[in-house]
Symmetry: C2
Subunit: 200 residues, 2 copies
């Protein structure tokens, strides 16, 4: 095939994007070269900047290019005494969109997975334990994913909270609002039954 | 929403990619930051290099970082006296994959579209006319897309070839190999009928 090295290098590099196969990579490369050189240039700069400069917030471990993220710096959120533990920074975005939660976060960047060598240290739970020990935390809300690994991780953190006399709660699992009962899987339904609430 | 400026800049920049909406851009940004910094860095460099250095081949106008592309430099292809006119560099890739065509190409980078201000000069047809005038071209194969604009462009170039006494041909249109008749659109079918060949 006759692609010059610069073009084929670009096509190859684009394949690192998740969900982009060889055909899409080619289409994207030609689109940028033909119609959007400024966009491509801008993307190149943003990528280089982000990969070099974005690190983790020292308190909550989310992505952030300064030492602490805006949420951790907010005095109001610090005073709330609430910490919500999530698996990834995208979970923060989803929760922030509801506008319901006014506390701080702690991002694990994964879940416990001993077979892959991911233990408490890899999830930054030493930093989290320091925060529990400081006495500024009143309640920990465990919002890890409702998978086996997520549940295990939540359980582990709940034990840690108990050791430091901090109350911990798990977000509710059940039938999604607007969902239909016959389309919901059995696991979710049994969660919905065991977590039922009295109404009168 | 609480994305730091570096991250949100990256998400915004990723949206210049065709087919990438806000959700996908976010997913890609977090994927690169979390799991593939090297890939992201490499992509940033390739993009910056490509956007700055890739220009057009001076003979065929395809993308190329040197003055002339490999196909135009090949003596064998130059001797063939064949030029295939296509609308975009991706068409070259498709034709090269068949391995059938051993001549050179000329890439229009679009089609005639007077309302958008795209005339013969914008398609580089002045360069093409020089090549016709040089006498090195025996036959021009018109492989523009079978759309109204593509047909008009092909017609225009055919007239240009006639003026310089160079024979021109149009690639065949009809039912695709392996296609089923009842799934083929009417336009293609009528092309297939008017372009029928005698078999005995």
């Amino acid at each position: 095939m006759k692609l010059t090295s610069g073009v084929s290098q670009l096509v190859e590099a684009l394949r690192c994007l998740p969900g982009i196969g060889p055909k899409s990579a080619q289409r994207i490369a030609f689109h940028l070269l033909e119609h959007d050189r400024d966009g491509g240039r801008q993307l190149g700069q943003s990528l280089t900047f982000a990969m070099e400069n974005i690190g983790h917030c020292k308190s909550c471990r989310t992505f952030c290019e300064s030492e602490q993220c805006d949420i951790c710096l907010s005095a109001k959120r610090q005073d709330s005494g609430l910490i919500c533990v999530v698996e990834s920074p995208t979970d923060i975005l989803a929760i922030e969109q509801t506008g319901q939660f006014q506390g701080r976060y702690f991002v694990l960047m994964g879940h416990l997975s001993p077979l892959d060598g991911i233990g408490p240290m890899e999830l930054g739970l030493d930093i989290f334990e320091q925060q529990l020990r400081s006495g500024a935390v009143e309640e920990v809300i465990l919002a890890t994913n409702p998978t086996v690994e997520g549940e295990t991780t939540a359980h582990f953190i709940a034990d840690m909270c108990a050791k430091h006399d901090v109350s911990a709660s798990r977000i509710a699992h059940g039938v999604p609002v607007g969902g239909e009962l016959d389309l919901v899987d059995g696991m979710t339904l049994s969660h919905a039954f065991s977590g039922r609430k009295k109404v009168n």
